[in-house]
Amino acid sequence: MTRERLINLLILLLMIAVPAWAYAVDEPFILTLTTKVAILALAGVGLNIALGLGGLISFGHAAFFGIGGYAMGILASHAQSYTPMMEWPLLIEGTKSMPVIWLVAMLTSALAALLIGALSLRTSGVYFIMITLAFGQMLYYFAISWPAYGGEDGLSIYVRNGFPGLNTLDPLQYLILCYVVLFIVIFLSSRLAKSAFGLALGGARQNAERVQTVGIAPYRVRLTAFVISGAVTGLAGALYADLNRFVSPTMFSWHTSGEIMVFVILGGVARLFGPVAGAALFIGMEHVLGGISEFWQVFLGLTLLAVVLFARGGLIGTLAGREVAHD
């Protein structure tokens, strides 16, 4: 078994052990914190498809995170106030059903990613980074200035949405639901990485010209990856909004984009469990260091700087060494 596999197994064990312990000693706050880690990890897994596999440095993924969150917020707020979203030409009412919300969140994020990606992928390098950042900001300012859904103050959803067969208000049940979603997505993304598409995407990342000369168009491959990536991050956004029962424009801000990128980097870019490790590290720091000093972000910054300068592979990269699984 490779070292990376071992580490992944360890992370898996921790992910089960921590909430199990929290449940046993009746600390629902830790359960909520673990759920937060899982959801943010999911956002990171989404970004990793574009960033790790595709080499696309998107600094605006918060756009999709926010869209997913607002999909939930809008649908649920209409449901809780019993006012339909639209009456003519179609009657569209709100809903508080998670599966429906998730579907809407993913579809709208995918559509946004298609539009943003189609424009942004025409550029490359620094332009791409800046343009994705700018699109994220565009949505941020839009969310602030559109008063119907709370504007700057955000939108509260009083009761968590429902999932058939579960009591989602119970922290443990919601955690398990998020875990299931996370692991399904991790599994699918690992299949994606090994597939023909993954081969082409990785090839385009390493050498776009090479890929062209074998008859594969990098633009189409990258756009597809970007759309998938956006959809996953959008799903995470919906889950996050449900966790907090609150949605606000901050979900769109570039700090959020930066933080999602930080999870991925801290854990290890393109490592399967990288986003999980990174999100856990980040939330851990926020919780522990944040309790000591309200200026804990200085330490986060220093840690990030140290990782970038000296420990490029992130947590998993440093522990697992150079080997990358080639099976």
């Binding site: 960033l51 440095i57 600094f59 424009l119 025409r122 550029t123 490359s124 390098g125 620094v126 332009y127 980074i129 800046m130 343009i131 950042l133 700018a134 699109f135 900001q137 565009m138 300012y141 839009f142 602030i144 200035s145 559109w146 008063p147 570039w254 930066g258 990128m261 930080v262 980097i265 870019v269 200026f295 804990w296 972000q297 200085v298 986060l300 910054g301 220093l302 990030l304 700087l305 970038v308 300068l309 490029r312």
Partner: protein
């Protein structure tokens, strides 16, 4: 809307534009010469503003405050370059983005640690306050006009620096071929530090000047940074001319959009809806402008053609 109001808004747009130019010029220089994307540029804007506010409070002199802003930002820039940025030139863009993002966290929270979360005050000096009468019967704040003049003067100075001085030649050569100028014996490290410090000083100056009309607080540099990025993308990376044109375009679009779009929509929507839709579209107007430019010219207006 009256002609006077329109002219006032255009002037406001110009004022916002020249300040954006100061930010964008530093950003595009650093990218053009060193190939480095620097997210912490907004923090240098903040450093300038804080330095100015502190010195103004201590000495009561606005001029000293501006000098302090330039000096503090330049020194901060040089220090950051020597300690962190230096190690990033050979790295890929992802590393640069993350490292400079880390710097933002450190500098912002560090500043909050030192100065607290409450905004500082920097007042417009008495000799620049009050309105000035412009031809056409327009009363315009003297300070804002002074900013426009100062900004244009800096722009002119920058053009002269780049085109007429030795440093300027080295900068242009460095933009064209980094390895070559090293081979020609130019001290690259010193050149890079100087360019970075120059960009920082410009940002600090902008921060101080704007700090007198808006508030001086942690995080003030971030919205400006994003706008500066949009300017650089529109103008073309590495082009000072592009930064200038882009900055004016963005400044004017932002200001005029915010005023004109609600009025446009008032023509066929009810007032409150018009205000809402107009305001929302106005906030997105710049990004729409950027998207349009990129569709037509993926490397910006004055950038290198791919």
């Amino acid at each position: 809307m009256s002609a006077i109001l329109l002219v006032e808004q255009i002037l406001n747009g110009l004022q916002s534009g020249v300040m954006l130019f100061l930010m964008a010029a530093g950003l595009t220089l650093v990218f053009g010469v060193m190939g480095l994307i620097n997210l912490a540029h907004g923090s240098l804007y903040m450093v300038g503003a804080f330095a100015a506010a502190s010195i103004a409070a201590a000495t009561g002199s606005f001029v000293l405050a501006l000098v302090a802003a330039l000096a503090a930002a330049a020194v901060a820039g040089a220090l950051i370059e020597l300690i962190v940025i230096r190690r990033l030139y050979a790295r890929d863009h992802l590393d640069q983005v993350l490292a400079t993002f880390a710097l933002i966290l450190i500098l912002s929270e560090g500043t909050r640690w030192m100065f607290g979360s409450f905004p500082l005050y920097l007042d417009v000096p008495s000799w620049l306050s009050g309105p000035i009468s412009l031809p056409g019967g327009i009363q315009y704040p003297l300070y804002r006009l002074a900013i426009i003049v100062a900004g244009l003067a800096v722009a002119a100075g920058l053009f002269l620096l780049i085109s007429r001085t030795r440093l300027g030649i080295r900068i242009r050569a460095g933009e064209a071929d980094r390895e070559m100028i090293a081979a020609l014996g130019v001290d690259i490290s010193k050149l890079y530090t100087m360019v970075f410090a120059l960009g920082a000083a410009l940002a600090g100056l902008a921060g101080a000047l704007v700090g007198a009309i808006q508030s001086v607080q942690v995080g003030m540099g971030e919205p400006v940074l994003i706008l500066a990025f949009v300017v650089v993308v529109i103008g073309g990376i590495g082009s000072i001319k592009g930064a200038f044109v882009g900055a004016l375009l963005v400044g004017l679009t932002d200001t005029l959009g915010g005023v004109l779009l609600p009025q446009l929509f008032a023509l066929f929507l009810d007032p409150s809806a018009a205000a809402t839709v107009g305001a929302s579209l106005a906030s997105m107007a710049i990004y729409i402008l950027m998207a349009v430019v990129l569709v037509l010219r993926p490397s910006g207006l004055f950038g290198e053609r791919a």
